[in-house]
């Protein structure tokens, strides 16, 4: 299913966040554009390429359709990192959706820095649908970045609070 609107995206994020995250692996949500990244991820799967299991993919029509609220919602739900993957610049199916998305990502990164979550937990990359190895490499890259940063402060706080209750 493609997350074509805010409600669908919120539902898919809920499902992704509530899914079985194993061990202490970073929890990453990857918003993947229908025309490139989703196909690249699919290709990576067909080619049996391995990438960290803590990554949940949300299929979006275009990164330009991604509202800033979708990404903030993911962080509020406690994910450790968000990867937004759009088409190569100049190759957007909707002409400039990916370029607009990058500007929005920059704004959210500054908000995340301002509120103490850290802008580097949010990354955007551009791929074509044939770039499965690059997709895997970027996924590994954000997982390494987030591992170095530790769990999201929101999730860390929730863990501390639930440990306190026990």
């Amino acid at each position: 299913m493609i997350a074509a609107n805010t409600e669908q995206s919120a539902k898919m994020q809920d499902r992704a966040v509530q899914s079985a995250w194993r061990g202490g692996a970073p929890r990453i949500i990857a918003f993947c554009c229908n025309y490139c990244a989703f196909a690249a991820a699919d290709l990576a799967g067909s080619r049996r390429m391995q990438y960290p299991a803590g990554v949940r993919i949300i299929h979006t029509p275009c990164t330009g359709k991604l509202e800033m609220e979708h990404i903030l919602d993911a962080f509020e739900k406690g994910v450790d990192g968000v990867l937004v993957v759009g088409c190569l610049e100049g190759g957007c199916h909707y002409v400039e959706g990916n370029v607009r998305a990058r500007k929005r990502i920059d704004r959210i990164r500054s908000i995340l820095d301002e509120i103490g979550i850290g802008g580097s937990r949010l990354q955007m990359v551009n791929l074509s649908d044939a770039m499965a190895p690059a997709f895997v490499q970027h996924v590994r890259g954000i997982v390494e970045t987030v591992k170095a940063l530790g769990p999201s402060p929101i999730r860390a706080l929730e863990q501390t609070e639930s440990a306190g209750k026990v």
């Binding site: 509202e67 800033m68 609220e69 903030l72 919602d73 962080f75 509120i115 402060p153 706080l157």
Partner: protein, 222 residues
């Protein structure tokens, strides 16, 4: 339209630091169009401030409601129910909207979530420029539809100052010289002779300078 810009997340967060339940009220008219205080911007501010408060271990409950127009009592009634359960309201409307809400809810603290800027137009996506000062006595007919009162840094009414360079204002080289624009426009519409009329000193009594103004239209009163 009225153009506004958002206050920083930190500033809004500090305004409401003493409250636990707050209503974030958006406005669906001017500030939605200028991407400052509509449903989307209210949503972004809500997520950010809620997370920031959570990290401070001081959780905040936010109710979000965006009404058609905050400066209109007819629509303000839609805030009555959501406002009843909160300690304070942050208005993401212009200064008029903030004050209208404060008057409507005299016992609730009301804070401004935006910085109201000016009356202006959209030049291109996400760029607005000031066009009108609201001086109360419009002189645009004399100047070919370009307002020197607002757009000339020196508010000159009888020709340019002589300081402009390459058609740009000497006060701000990024801004076009209003008088150059007036000359070109009057030339294009065949009304250059208007420049020969001496414009007397402007009557500023109709402008803000003698205090807040009021407009009454008896024919429309009920």
């Amino acid at each position: 339209m009225i153009v506004a810009s958002p206050k920083s997340i930190t500033e809004v967060k500090n305004l409401i630091s003493g409250h636990k339940k707050v209503l974030f009220a958006g406005c669906g008219t001017c500030v939605t169009v200028c991407l400052a205080g509509g449903e989307r911007e209210v949503g972004i501010a809500s997520y950010a401030i809620r997370m920031a408060r959570k990290l401070e271990r001081n959780t905040l409950e936010i109710t979000q409601v965006t009404i058609e127009r905050q400066c209109d009592n007819e629509f303000l009634k839609d805030l009555a129910e959501p406002a009843s359960g909160v300690e304070a309201i942050v208005s993401f409307g212009c200064g008029a909207g903030v004050q209208a809400i404060a008057e409507r809810f005299p016992n609730k603290p009301v804070y401004a979530g935006l910085n109201t800027q000016f009356l202006g137009v959209l030049e291109e996506q996400a760029v607005w420029t000031e066009k009108c000062l609201g001086c109360g006595e419009c002189m645009l007919a004399q100047f070919g539809g370009i307002c020197p009162v607002t757009r000339c840094a020196k508010r000159l009414l009888n020709g340019p100052c002589g300081g402009s360079l390459e058609n740009q204002c000497e006060v701000d080289p990024e801004r076009p010289c209003a008088w150059q624009l007036i000359y070109t426009r009057l030339k294009n519409i065949g009304q250059l002779d208007r420049l020969e009329d001496i414009v007397p000193p402007k009557d500023w009594s109709t402008a803000w300078y003698s205090g807040a103004r009021k407009v009454v239209r008896k024919e429309h009163q009920v």
